[in-house]
Amino acid sequence: MATASAEIKVTAEIAAEHGLSAPEYARVQQILGRDPNITELGIFSVMWSEHCSYKSSKVHLKRLPVCGTLVVQGPGENAGVVDIGDGLVAAFKIESHNHPSFVEPFQGATTGVGGILRDIFTMGARPIAVLDSLRFGPITADNSAPSVSPETIAKNRRILDGVIRGIANYGNSFGVPTIGGEVCFEPCYSQNPLVNALALGIAKKEDLFFAKARGTGNPVIYVGAKTGRDGIHGASLLASAEFTEESQQKRPNVQVGDPFVEKLLLEACLEAMTTGAVVAIQDMGAAGLTCSTTEMASRGGTGIEIDLARVPQRESGMTPYEIMLSESQERMLLVAERGREPEVLQVFKKWGLDAVVVGEVADGGLLRVKDHGIVVAEIPAHPLAEEGPVYQRPIAKPSRKDESAADWFVFGPEKKNLTDNFKQLLASPAISSKRWITEQYDTMVRTNTLAVPGAGDAAVVRIKGTKRALALATDGNGRWCQLNPRLGAMHAVAEAARNVACSGAKPIAATNCLNFGSPEKPEVMWQFSEAIDGLAAACNELETPITGGNVSFYNETLGSSIYPTPVIGILGVIEDATSVLKMAFRDHGDIVVLLDGMSGATDSPAVKSSNGSDAQLAREFSSSEYSKTVGGIVAGEPPAIDLPAEKRLQQCMVALAASRTIQSAHDLSDGGLAVTLAESCFASAPVRKAGDTLGAKIKIEDGTPSESAVFGERGARAVVSVSPNSLNAVLQTSRKYGVSAVRIGEVTANGIFRIELNGSAIIEEPVETLRDIWARSLERALKQ
């Protein structure tokens, strides 16, 4: 075959520089029946990168449940799709953009959001919400991070600021509400922050589009932004390798986002799809033109032939290698019906976007790339996309020293007043209000947002034209997964689903973003394998099949890995949008009830903590936010989990919401019962008149240490408030679902937050004092 002139001769060494191992390179030679040229080598290297090929994770991902009666499209397409009734479907997916966000926080975050939005509208669904799950290094010097230097803290703040601005810039301009997610802080994320973006879109079921090329002779059309030299090898060398001291030199591998062009692309693509002339469509994300051509051909069982000379280019003199590997943003590739291309091109012209026929669907299953008519690459598409290397990487359980009581949190004396410790907890970046961040996001555009960030346990958007609403929540506790990846992963699913249920929605499906260290380390692969088993168990039990997501390996710098951090997004459906639950207490005199799925149907009078000995209690408590923040201890195990109990609680919450018998709902998670109750007080403020602050008067009986009783984080629990005349109905419903419901106090009008344990007040403080600490800590920390 003809090749481009003055070409580099490919050797095994050059292949190694491209991240291809010797056996992988041999496989390339075998597939081609010859040595590849440099363009072909580049194509193989990105397609077979960890990021694109899932070569280390594939064998494990098979264990995840992906089927369900509502699943329309599982993993393998641009996004997962589920049936949400009324002839509508929801497309949703979460993806990481971790390494780019460390190297260049603003652009890394913008392009993370841009990429996931394209995945959604590629399917023909209009994006209606974005959530972001973020992990940073510590931004304050405190107990929990004693060894973190002031320089690192300052740097972490800059990364956070850049990431938040990036997310805001892209979503706000594009016109999609950014309505939730979480922000967590741990020292392990200082050199490797996590930026996981989740997007949700809706479409009519019959209007879905897929990335499957078909129809020999059908034109292949390139649309959107011009191709430049940005982001070359983003997927292979940036996303699929760990960081070293030279990582800042990878800045040119980061792409640059343009939300305005993305907005035009969205409108133009959705309009073009209505012409009926579009056969298939795929966005150009990781690995750009290479990935989109290869995957469309492979999925359709066809070939594709393109000529790079026709590709709109931002700069002159780009080589075929650069054009094929560019990760310039805001581009799409689509296949149109032969003869109807003018209809499609006309739409893009209207929106002022480039749209050019660059090739056609061909017989023979080859990806054939030409440059001015001269063939520069010719590779069988299916082997390139599907027959890449698959590894059963070695697995080894990391050795962990045997812990004893000396390593664990030591509970303080009983009856000790815990108000000051509680304030310290409320001020910690993990617990404090995230309003300073979320106010920078447009949370209301599209006028569907029924629960803005902080209003409820999940973000809720209504679906205009129906009675329904969708609820979404993300969760993932890296600290717990570090201590026990299987249990931590189960908790991530359980909590995200619990959040969704506490907004009144029935959890129906999941998406996951699996952030781990290097797969070449057996210990990391053990964490990964354990986490997969945990996810599988929890998703099976809670009937939330995983419909897609991504795996992000190599999250490590100078040899040290991040905490294993599987982030789970759960989608739920609320049949009647007017029954959405929020966390705010509403009226004084309302009764506060603690629901507990684990205590079974017996209305036991106490907040029982995990069963077992005191040693077991201390061990579990050592993994809590309180232990970390107040005690400076991260050890032990996450709380034991009881998945059937989680399910009972969730079903009970959905039933309570539908019956409209409760005034508010908020689950127990980070910071335990005390934080849950306080947040329900804080959230009530905006709807109250000045000087009329709601408080809470709580009385609990518990035989466990007081810190465990009020700050323990065992799951399957939620706090609801109930008007007195609905109490019986609530108790009945709880009994029906096998959930214990214990009356623990009431909402008061005196603005005092008071928790009494076994007859002694252990926390007592005006709500306004606590609120000020909670509401402004993050802003104070970041403005230092």
């Binding site: 907005k263 929106w351 002022g352 106010e439 209301m444 555009v445 006028t447």
Partner: protein, 236 residues
């Protein structure tokens, strides 16, 4: 009576304004493309929020050159009702249909939250259904809402009662506390001398149903409907 919502490339509150008019107020409404040479016989025109042409330059600086703005200008000159919301307000300022300018918010950050604004003048087609001094809870969502004008312009706005909305506290007593972006005189919205062109930074179309936490923005659209109905009757 027919409303028109202009669609610039980069408008992103166009659907929201359309929905508020069609589904909440039940009035006829259609989209008007930015390259359109006429206004499709609309009786009132809304320039919606968003980032027209990306707003990489000054906000509204490119949109004012859009083909449709010629028609909007002559429509305004003939007394037609023009409402600019957020980016639409910024475009009206750049187009010279309203005086002054907006700068970056004083904190140099995008802000999205509910604010309170006080209706300062009820003698306009956009506020005639409101009570004098009425406090409205309406969201803002912008980077550049810091209203600025020279002293002479400000004095004229005052004298001619062109300041239609001011930011204020929930009880309407403390404008400075309620001012989210540093706007001079806590200005949230102004009208032209003739009262038929109004622009404001807050988004009334996002506050039209109690499910969205506030329906206070409805009074602005209801005023427009009332005003159009009266003038239709007068010309009949």
């Amino acid at each position: 009576m027919k409303f028109g919502v202009v669609v610039f490339p980069g408008s992103n509150c166009d659907h929201d304004a359309f929905y508020a008019i069609s589904d909440v107020l039940h009035q006829p409404v259609e989209f008007i493309w930015h390259q359109s040479e006429d206004l499709a016989n609309c009786d009132a025109v809304i320039l919606p929020g968003g980032f027209a042409h990306g707003d990489y330059l000054r906000t509204g600086a490119l949109a004012r050159f859009s083909m449709v703005m010629k028609s909007v200008k002559s429509f305004a000159k003939r007394g037609g009702l023009v409402l600019g919301i957020c980016n639409g307000f910024q475009i009206l300022l750049e187009a010279g249909l309203l005086p002054g300018a907006v700068m970056r918010n004083i904190g140099l950050r995008y802000i999205c939250r509910h604010v309170y604004i006080r209706v300062e003048n009820t003698a306009t087609p956009f506020t005639q259904a409101a009570t004098p001094g009425q406090i409205l809870k309406i969201p803002i969502a912008h980077n550049d809402g810091n209203y600025t004008a020279d002293p002479q312009t400000l004095a004229e706005l005052q004298k001619n009662q062109q300041i239609v909305f001011r930011y204020t506290s929930a009880d309407g007593k403390d404008d400075a506390t309620g001012n989210p972006n540093g706007s001079m005189e806590s200005i949230a919205g102004i009208c032209n001398r003739e009262r038929n062109v109004t622009g404001l930074m807050p988004h009334p179309e996002r506050a039209v149903e109690s499910a969205l936490d506030s329906a206070d923005g409805l009074v602005i659209f209801r005023s427009m409907v009332e005003s159009l109905a009266t003038s239709a009757k007068a010309s009949a």
